[in-house]
Amino acid sequence: MADEKPAPSPIDRVWNFFISVKLAIITLIVLAVTSIFGTIIEQNQPPEKYHQIYEDWSFALMDRLNLFDMYHSWWFLLMLVLFTVNLSCCTIDRFPKMLKVVRNPRTKLDENLEKTLSLADRWKKKGTLSDWAATYAAALSSSFAKPMVTEQGNEVHLYAESGVASRFGVYVTHLSIIIIFIGAILGNVLGFKGYVNIPEGEAVAQVPVRGGSRTQDLGFTVRCNAFSLETYPSGQPKAYKSDLSVIEGGREVARKTIVVNDPLQHKGIWFYQSSYGQAGGATARVAVARKDGTPMATLALAANETVPVDGYGVIRGVNYDQNFQGNGPALQVVVEKPGKPAASFWLFQSRPDLDRQRNDSVILSFGGLTAKMFTGLQVAKDPGVNIVWLGCALMVIGIIMAFFLSHQRVWVRLAQGADGRVEVVLAGTASRNRLAFEKRFERIQTNVKAVGL
């Protein structure tokens, strides 16, 4: 039968599947619903933890469905691919059509168009066609936008539009999503994320990459000079600070004290304050001075470590008390001098001069415990991140263009009527927010109708 449409070819059918908005809506909803699983089931935990929570059969099922790392599972990624293909196809299908409409607007208000426009007004005026056309063109310019004038036979058509950019909003938004995905993929392929602990005074040139056994060469060395923890008077943490140096070829080329929310960046690699802890045991600071007060040495005593003092003997820290006999922090030391029995006594941090009473050749004073800390740093290189930000900026701009601009079009048709009067039709339409446009149209209507020759 001649009037029956030919059945679409398989390629057309595939294409029609991918350009449908219905598919987009279904994909959005399915992505939303499936994403919930990963928020209920804690992701990327060690298997032992899951075994504690779930029965064997449900563990096996969830493991099979990749629910323990679902956002990186093949099926979730496949949905994201489907989403992107759908988005791209919709754009390829619709963008040229939109561009054609924008480039070649319907500048004439013919009867077919008139029928589709719900906002329309008709009236008649005495006078000549050209005079009224010029008057209404001026009125439209002042109350809406400068119109294009088309003369055709005994008719004059005026066409004015505003907010044509709103037509591009949806494409800018869709493009932004693709740009974000490109940025994310670039970051994953070309960048790395790692984590490293650096004890105070030590340096690293490589960091272990997160979630793998690989290590990443930094291309330079990072040293942690010091770590400090500040607290509020209430004891809550106020700041974690790491004094970091970047060393290249044996020279310090950069130095920065980083805190949470203020990282260090060198050659595209970022170091973020993330964690901290105590590296090894604490050492006790003991100052050694002559009787007249001239300092001889400052010792760092590790627990039970014997340290020699020239011309005196050996000293060993054996005990520490935060509040010894109510006198605050104190260190118990054992001093052995050649040929003499070992002497054991306490040094009080708050009273550095008390050791004079021992009436020995040197005075020892305890300067407190020093715990050697390590800083825990997130290390990241993400060459795609700026592309992601570009996409994000475009997304906000695109959404605002799409929803807050409206492509508004107004036509005026003037025709010489049979009775010698000029028949006027004013009509308009808007791509968005018709309610607001109705009000604007009323104002245009009032303004245009109010003008006289």
């Binding site: 987009a24 959005l28 992505l31 997130q378 993400d382 994000c392």
Partner: protein
């Protein structure tokens, strides 16, 4: 703390306003609703002052930070946003009947806030960032817009039943016509959507600056994406497939339930990087 007294007063005012709006509907008396409007205006002044006082008091305590950093503060800020947005809508659409459906959301939020710790605590290091301001404010304006949309969607569902039966009686008869409600559902969402988008983006930017990852599928992040996907579906359904009326209203309510889950559910039920928001 004087800010808490002012917030308690705000709670009472929101309760009074809700009662007045509901009373006006039952009594079919718009004059009662006028008092509701003035109560809302007063509540706006008092709650704005309360936020200012709280901010000032934090400086006096030597902490000095914007009052949007824990559950109590986020709840009062949410209620504050809903109230202001409501007043804008009431003025723009010229109907006070919305109040009976929107103000109870603000009131319930404040009631919930009252049961939370209202003390001003110093900021933990993770929250000490300028991104905090942009992130929280954009998110909450978005949430408030979705709340207004859901309140109106509820009105729509009630009204649509009557309009279909071609009757107009009782409390529901006083509601604005469906066309207007339907439009308002959509308008609120197109305001909320860019704010939510900006909220997610500022959150990602902050996460990247604090942790070196802009997206880590943390439950809060994921739920914000779920909310975003639901409203994206709503907008596609509406704009390209002409979903109006009942289906759009239901989708708006679903979107707001997802929003509540994202805002409160994640902190109260699930665990993750946003856990400080739960205290």
């Amino acid at each position: 703390m004087s800010n808490v007294i002012l917030f308690n007063l705000t709670t009472v005012l929101f309760g009074v306003a809700s009662a007045l709006y509901l009373g006006a509907l039952y009594a079919k008396n718009d004059r009662i609703a006028v008092f509701g409007t003035w109560t809302c205006v007063l509540a706006a002044v008092v709650s704005t002052a309360a936020l200012g006082v709280r901010w000032y008091e934090s400086y006096q305590m030597g902490i000095g930070r914007i009052p949007v950093t824990n559950l109590y503060e986020s709840l009062v800020f949410f209620a504050w946003s809903v109230n202001l947005l409501y007043l804008v809508v009431e003025r723009k659409y010229g109907s006070r009947t919305f109040g009976a459906f929107v103000m109870p959301i603000a009131f319930a939020t404040m009631l919930f806030a009252v049961y939370n710790d209202s003390s001003i605590q110093p900021l933990v290091p993770a929250l000490q960032s300028y991104w905090l301001h942009a992130h929280v404010i954009t998110c909450f304006v978005g949430y408030a817009a979705f709340a207004v949309s859901a309140g109106v969607a509820l009105m729509y569902l009630l009204k649509a039943r009557q309009e279909e039966a071609k009757i107009s009686e009782g409390v529901v008869g006083l509601l604005p016509e469906c066309k207007m409600l339907d439009d308002l559902i959509y308008r609120s969402i197109i305001w909320g959507f860019p704010f939510l988008t900006a909220g997610i983006i500022t959150g990602a930017a902050w996460a990247n600056y604090a942790w070196g990852t802009y997206w880590s599928w943390d439950p809060k992040e994921t739920w914000s994406l779920i909310v975003w996907l639901v409203y994206a579906a709503f907008l596609h359904a509406r704009v390209t497939r002409g979903w109006h009326g009942r289906r759009a209203a239901i989708l708006s309510i679903v979107g707001f339930l997802a929003t509540i889950m994202c805002y409160l559910g994640v902190n109260l039920v699930l665990s993750g990087l946003h856990s400080y928001g739960g205290g």
